[in-house]
């Protein structure tokens, strides 16, 4: 039974290579990268066998290893991976629960994560091979760690598949992901702010000693403890690790048994009333399209992710710069233009987000102009407060109000140019995105180099168009403040020109090749 599952998993892996050449290339690069990292770590662990402070090595390994174990637990939930070995797929085969559980868990050993983990664990065995008994102990704990990780990921993937089976909860993982990201930034700050030289060692020791007694780190701590002579705690931790593996196995069996008889769950549908945005917008084609875009921004998690990124990106950009010692005075000028870049860029693949629903526009003969303008209205509306309020706040921090016109000009130009580019590229170069209803982190299979090119071109394009405005603003700051007013005028002028040209080309393209856009959505 187990061998058949192995065979199945191998076949599934092999089929990964039966896609388009570019995907295979990407896959191979990814694999090589993972393997490279694993081998580097392996080498590092082997060297640790011969050098370094034993307790320091132990503490670091415990902390790092615990993070890895935690990753196996969390990543399937947050990312919501498509589980090819979902127990429910075997529900109709009538396999006894125990063999099925064993087979599924065993087959998880075949796979990139398990392979890289095994390589690294092999390293830890060598690190702790400081005697026969120690080596044996290290070997046992390595196996325990491997089994723990596999079982954890199986359980969490299954739970995720079960809990996230409804559309709403699946989208919610998108929010979780973003929240995690936001929560990580203060952690990063704290970590960066810590005086590692003085308190680092102590902090590491404390964290490691705590983790060492939890199922996360027990197996990793045992051989280290043994090597430092603490045989008692080593055995105790090994018992903890073994017990948690057994517990996990029981949980896994229950989960499998449970999933075989639970096809999924139904979420209660939410009731809305009225037409929402459609009531608030003009009752014509442009208004309806704009209202639809607004509605989607509010209801579709794929948009949430890109929209939430807009305020987060400046933070992420400023943090390292401020740590690197760039004065806040200048940093204050960064966020608003940066947010405008992202806001304009958000729309660069807008048609692809509709997926095949775009047929409605094609079948109804919607005018390209109406479509283009309607889609841009929400972004433009959103840009007004960002530019207006954002610039005011920025400049008040910066402290020199003469710069305000430049700030407004540059931001407006970037946003409008971005929207102009987006207007054209979204009809001309739609590339596959996450499908409606999928987790926002479930990346589409077919992302090739073309899409990366489109992404970077639209991103850089708006900045390039705004370069003259940047130059005028620079003159204003270094030469004569009067240049700031020119920057404002130039920014609005260039921006408007860019957006009009973009919309015009986009509309023409839309009118001519609606069926091609639909075809590309179908291929995605």
């Amino acid at each position: 039974m187990v061998t058949q599952f192995f065979g199945l998993k191998l076949r599934l892996l092999a089929n990964l290579f039966r896609r388009s050449p570019w995907q295979v290339v990407g896959l191979v690069v990814g694999l090589l990268y993972g393997l490279g990292v694993a081998i580097t770590i392996l080498v590092a662990l082997i060297t640790l066998r011969f050098v370094g402070d034993v307790s320091l090595i132990r503490d670091s390994l415990v902390v790092a290893g615990s993070l890895v174990v935690l990753g196996f637990l969390l990543i399937p939930i947050v990312v919501g991976i498509d589980d090819t070995m979902d127990p429910r797929k075997f529900a109709f085969l009538g396999i006894p629960n125990r063999s099925l559980s064993l087979g599924l868990a065993g087959s998880a050993l075949i796979g990139v994560p398990a392979l890289t983990l095994s390589i690294m664990l092999l390293g830890t065995v060598i690190t702790w091979s400081r005697g026969v008994v120690e080596t044996l102990l290290a070997l046992v704990s390595a196996v325990l760690v491997l089994v723990t990780c596999i079982l954890l990921s199986r359980v969490s993937a299954s739970l995720a598949a079960f809990l996230l089976s409804t559309r709403r909860s699946r989208e919610f993982t998108g929010l979780i992901g973003v929240v995690v990201l936001v929560m990580l930034s203060p952690v990063v700050v704290v970590l960066l702010g810590t005086d590692w030289g003085r308190h680092g060692r102590a902090l590491l020791g404390t964290v490691a000693s705590i983790l060492g007694w939890t199922p996360l780190g027990a197996a990793l701590a045992a051989p280290g403890d043994a090597s430092t002579g603490a045989w008692g705690t080593a055995i105790l931790k090994l018992v903890i690790a073994a017990a948690s593996v057994y517990l996990l196995w029981l949980i896994w069996e229950v989960v499998v048994a449970r999933m075989l008889v639970s096809p999924g769950r139904e979420a209660a549908a939410k009731q809305y009333s009225g037409l929402g945005w459609f009531d608030r917008m003009p009752h014509n084609t442009v208004g309806a399209i704009a209202a639809r875009t607004f509605t989607y921004w509010a209801r579709d998690s794929r948009y949430w992710v890109s929209l939430i990124m807009i305020p987060i990106v400046p933070i992420l950009a400023i943090l390292p710069l401020s740590i690197a010692g760039v004065p806040l005075h200048y940093l204050a000028l960064v966020p608003v233009p940066l947010m405008c870049v992202f806001l304009g860029w958000t729309m660069h693949n807008d048609v692809a987000y509709d997926s095949t629903a775009i047929w409605l526009h094609v079948a109804s003969g919607t005018r390209g102009l109406a479509d283009r303008v309607g889609r841009l209205i929400p972004a433009a509306v959103m840009g007004i407060p960002i530019i207006g309020i954002g610039s005011a706040v920025s400049i008040s921090v910066y402290g020199d109000w003469t710069v305000l016109p430049s700030m407004l000009g540059v931001s407006t130009c970037i946003l409008l140019a971005g929207l102009g580019f987006s207007s054209y590229t979204s009809t001309r170069f739609p590339y596959p995105v996450t499908k409606p209803g999928d987790s926002p982190f479930a990346q589409p299979q077919a992302s090739d180099t073309a899409s990366a090119l489109v992404q970077s071109l639209t991103f850089v394009g708006s900045i390039v168009v705004a370069l003259p405005v940047f130059f005028l603003a620079y003159l204003g700051m270094t030469d004569d403040p009067i240049w700031h007013l020119h920057a404002l005028g130039a920014g609005i002028g260039i921006g408007l020109l860019a957006v009009v040209v973009g919309i015009w080309f986009g509309a023409r393209r839309f009118d001519r090749s609606g069926p091609e856009m639909l075809a590309s959505a179908l291929r995605a």
């Binding site: 009731q271 459609f278 209801r299 629903a357 047929w359 094609v362 079948a363 003969g365 209803g437 639909l518």
Partner: protein, 508 residues
């Protein structure tokens, strides 16, 4: 699908009226009644045998007795819808014709007479005006040509209609074929939903029954009736030929204008040829079914007709407008229900309808009014404020169908409109479509339901491997067989499963 017979019957006569009449009469009487002239009679004898098994005998009998009265009544009742339908479909004429002489007069006023008998929704429909133009010419001629012959057939047809209608349709009878509007349909829907159990069972029974009787009288056209009769009666009898002959000229006489004309369509996907040199002609007022095995190119063809998929070669004109040269004008007259494409499902049902209507250029008030009507007609009232993403498959299909109709297009192109739609809704949808056709609209739909197509459509095309293997009226295509048999024959025949004996030796 549920009401097979009913749809067919409509054209012939109004169910409600007839059914009553039919019921009163007794089964055995059936064939002999009118006298189908000498020719036909022979056939009549046979029919008796068959009928009992399949359909409710009672219904048919009426023919004899009812023929005169019933037929007229039916004609009247069926009134507009029936008449129009008939007219529209070339075939129909025959039926009408016979009665025409006598009935024509009756037809106009008929409501009165009918109303009492029928349940009553006799609200008259305007349509009458229309019928005359289209149909009459065709119809009458036959009358003249072979009056005697025809009559019987018509009577027979009506009887059949009755039979089919009466028991089966009963629940639905309430909803009158008469009333045109969606509201009527909506009402029906409600009624139907109230009586669902019985109705459905009945329907199902009937459905099952039908296949057995190969020569089913398609509701549609007279010709069918004629042919059918002979078939039933006895294997092709002389009369048949005669009848057919008389009929044919009629239908050929005045073909309706061509609405959809596809010429030499070609589409390849990679190395696979999905559609190769496919031509299709659909005339105004037809209810055109497209059938074909999986992967035959039905969806591809319909997509090319509706401007969703650019053909590699070939032309498509809809109402004389080249779809691929003047897409925006062409798209205005087409309503589309694509298969397997997403909807903007983060919108609520109401929002989606509003969106679809607005994109089609309707103004605010019109969209709202029509949305309400459509929601009522499709039984979606309760679902309008939920996200389309949370709809079941059938509801999604219905809301998409509503979106296709909201701009009252001249042509509806529907890809698998009944897939995963429940029987009650399917009946409603069918009825809405039939009324739409009766009012001069044209419907092209694809389906895997042979029964449905045979019952509902007047024309059919069988597409296999990207080519049209057969096209024409349903009767022409199916000949003496059921459409299903004909289809299977064309699509490569039944595969005899050999070497599957192990399947019959159960593992435990």
């Amino acid at each position: 699908m549920p009401l097979d017979s009913e749809s067919d019957d409509e054209s012939v006569a109004d169910r409600s009226t007839e059914s009553k009449a039919a019921r009163d009469v007794h089964p055995n009487v059936v064939d002999q009644p009118e006298g189908q002239p000498a020719t036909i009679k022979p056939a009549a004898s046979t029919p008796t045998v068959r009928k009992p098994a399949v359909r409710k005998p009672a219904a048919r009998k009426p023919v004899a007795g009812s023929v005169g009265t019933a037929a007229v009544a039916k004609a009247a009742a069926s009134k507009t819808s029936g008449a129009k339908t008939a007219a529209a479909r070339t075939t129909v004429p025959k039926i009408v014709a016979p009665q025409t002489t006598e009935e024509t007069a009756a037809v106009t006023p008929p409501e009165t007479a009918v109303a009492p008998a029928t349940l009553a929704k006799p609200t008259a429909r305007k349509p009458p005006a229309r019928k005359p133009a289209v149909r009459k010419p065709g119809v009458r001629k036959p009358t003249v040509a072979a009056p005697t012959t025809v009559k019987p057939s018509s009577a027979f047809a009506s009887s059949l209609a009755n039979s089919a209608t009466d028991e089966t349709t009963r629940p639905y009878a309430t909803r009158d074929a008469l009333e045109g509007g969606l509201q009527a349909a909506a009402r029906t829907a409600k009624i139907a939903s109230q009586v669902p159990a019985d109705a459905q069972t009945e329907v199902e029974q009937q459905t099952e029954a039908e296949p057995q009787t190969p020569p089913r009288t398609p509701s549609t056209a007279v010709p069918k009736v004629v042919q059918t009769t002979p078939a039933k009666a006895a294997p092709k009898a002389v009369p048949t030929t005669a009848a057919t002959a008389s009929v044919v000229p009629v239908s050929a006489a005045e073909p309706a204008p061509i609405v959809i004309e596809a010429r030499g369509l070609i589409k390849r996907f990679g190395h696979k040829v999905a559609v190769s040199d496919l031509s299709l002609t659909v005339r105004a007022g037809s209810f055109y079914g497209i059938v074909g095995p999986n992967g035959a190119g039905k969806t591809t063809t319909l997509s090319m007709i509706t401007g969703l998929l650019r053909p590699a070669a070939g032309t498509v004109t809809v109402h004389g407008i080249d779809v691929w040269k003047r897409p925006n004008e062409a798209k205005r007259v087409i309503g589309v229900l694509p298969d397997r494409l997403r909807l903007f499902d983060r919108l609520t049902g109401a929002q989606l309808l509003y969106y679809a209507g607005t994109l089609r250029g309707l103004d605010n008030d019109t969209v709202r009014a029509r949305s309400a009507d459509l929601a009522a007609a499709f039984g979606l009232d309760d679902a309008l404020n939920r996200l389309v993403a949370d709809y079941s498959a059938g509801m999604t299909k219905k809301i998409a169908l509503a979106c296709a109709m909201i701009h009252s297009p001249r042509v509806l192109v529907l890809d698998e409109p009944f897939e995963s739609v429940d029987p009650v809704s399917a009946v409603n949808v069918t009825e809405i479509l039939q009324k739409y056709v009766a009012a001069g609209g044209t419907v092209v739909l694809s389906s895997h339901g042979m029964d449905l197509i045979q019952r509902v459509c007047d024309h059919v095309a069988i597409i296999v491997q990207g080519r049209v293997l057969a096209a024409g009226t349903v009767d022409e295509v199916r000949g003496q067989n059921t459409l299903e048999d004909r289809f299977i024959e064309l699509a490569g025949g039944r595969k005899v499963a050999e070497g599957m004996e192990w399947l019959h030796n159960f593992s435990d």
